[in-house]
Every structure is written in structure tokens, then in C-alpha cells.
Amino acid sequence: MGIEIKSMEYGDFNDNEALEELKKSGSNVLLSTVDAIINWGRSNSVWPLTFATSCCGIEMMATGGARHDFARFGIEVYRASPRQADVIVVAGTIVRKMAPVLKRLYDQMADPKYVIAMGACAVSGGPFYYNSYSVIRGVDQVIPVDVYIPGCPPRPEALLYGVMQLQRKIQALSMTSEKKQEGKSHRHRAEGKDVITKETSSS
């Protein structure tokens, strides 16, 4: 194709606000060193669960394929058993019948566990937002989400970027504080309406 693609410097990725917020707090030297080692390990070894519901799953497979190669980041160890997986990439639509199963899968995973909502359907219901009697409008109504990847379906590059964001997020976490559940956003259903409350900045 003749297009030279320059690799992006790591520093060129701009943190989003939530990450900056997480990084702000300090801790003592010893603990932060331990944190750094643990987070280095955790962030560089996120094993996804073999889980895909629809179209996005194909792009997830393509990401694992030869051209995009998930494996470079050490993420190629797809585990079929939720016990051994670290991240569940919700690739595709979640419907009302599937939601309890998804919740159960999430509960079966061992801590620390992360969730990536991949694709418009998992983020918000996407094309099925209106008029569908069965599609859950966003997987964050069922399980807490760490990283959202928009797109229908997102390109493999987008998934790679999402996973890298997750890695950066893990690196910003600390084992001492209560931050494990922070930075995940829930959407609560209040009186039949969806109210989005991002709990990212509270501390």
C-alpha cells in the first residue's frame, strides 16, 4: 500500500479526565513502588474471556488475527473459563435474556477484573436503542464498565486503543485506596428512565 505508518509515542496518547483524576492522589514511597510493580504486572497481562455475542466479536477475532495481532501486548491468551480471565470484552448486543448470564459470568471472574464495552450496542444499545423490546441499552446497566469503545463495530485499532487505555487505567490504580471500583461507570435506572451518573471523579 505504500503508506508508512509511524508508530505513536506512548506519551502522545492523551489521558482522559478520569485517568488524570485517578493519577492525582499520592501514596508513600514503599507502597507506590509495590503498586508500580503490581500494576505493571497486571496491566501487561490482561487475558480476555472468549466471549462475543455478535458482530463486534468478529472484529475482536480480527484483532487477534495476524494483521493486528493482539498478542504483541500479551493479550492473546484467550481463556475460555471466566475463572482465569481478567477482562471481559463485551463484544456485541446484550439482550434481556442474556443479561443475567453476563452478570453471572462477571461474578465468576476472579478479582481484579475489568470490563470493556466494545461497540455501540454494548455502550448504549446502539442501533437497537429505540423500539427494541429486548435489547439492554448499555452493558453498564448490568456490570460496571472500565473502558468504552464506540463504533459499530469498532475497528481492531479501536479495540487495541481501548485495551491500551485499560492498561493505563490499571497503572493508575492503587491497592491501598478504595479505588478498585472507581473509574467504573454505572448507570442507574431511576423510575424507568436512564440516568447517567459517571462515578469517575469522586474520591
Binding site: 427494541s132 429486548s134 441499552r137 424507568g192
Partner: protein
Amino acid sequence: MTREEMTALVRGKFPDVKLGSNKQFPEFIAAPDQIHSLCTALKEDAQTKMDYLFCETAADRKDGFHLVYHLTSSALGHCVMLRTVLTDKAKPEVETVGGIWMAAEFYEREIFDLFGIQFAHHPDLRRIFLDDDWVGYPLRKDYKDSFTLEH
């Protein structure tokens, strides 16, 4: 077999069957209690041999539920479309054709799930897509639930 021959054949055996207006396939409109015997006849008749039911579905129309069967013959290649109208919307019921074509068993489960049409003598009439405790039949025009967001 041409449209005329088909019409003659079906009308010969089932004089009550009305002729539909579909341009694509020869269409016959049968009464609900007649549809099973019509299907059996179409499958077993050596001239028609309708052994492949490629589509069975329903539609919620003003005059009732229309149940539509698309049949073809794998050997002879001709198609036919059958229709039956279930006027009683409160309690629609029709004889299953699952015994004639296995495929129908699953199409009928789908129709039961989404339209609530009861198929008599169906061996395994359960919801197929929705949860067992789902209330209502979504593909009916009057279906309402608190979950759906109308656009």
C-alpha cells in the same frame, strides 16, 4: 407446473380454497381447519411433491393473524404460497404442520413465541427466543411494555 395447473389441481381437491392475489407465487387461502389437510395433500401428491417448507410466518393484520406458508418442491422446483386467517385474535389456534415438515416445528415455536398463536398437537410448544416468563407477544401490533423506548 404452471400457476393455472396448480390452481386447477388445488381447486379440484379443495373447492373451498380461495385464490389469493399474490403475483409472485400462486396463492391459496384456506380456512384454519383445512390447512393441515391441504398441506398434507400438497406434500403427498405426486404432481406437486411440496417437500420443502422454506418459510412459515405470521403477520398481525386488521382482520386477524395471517399465517403464511411458502412451499416448494425440491425436485420439481415450483413454489406455492398458502395463507390462513385466524380471525379470533384473543385465542388464535391452528393445527400444526410440524408432522409434515420438521422445519415447521421450529417456525411454529417462533410464531408462538412472538405472536402467541397456539398450534394444536405441537410436540414442544415453548417460547424459543424470549424468557419463559415473558409477558405478551412482541410482534403483535398492540404489544406494549415498559421497557421499549418509542422513537
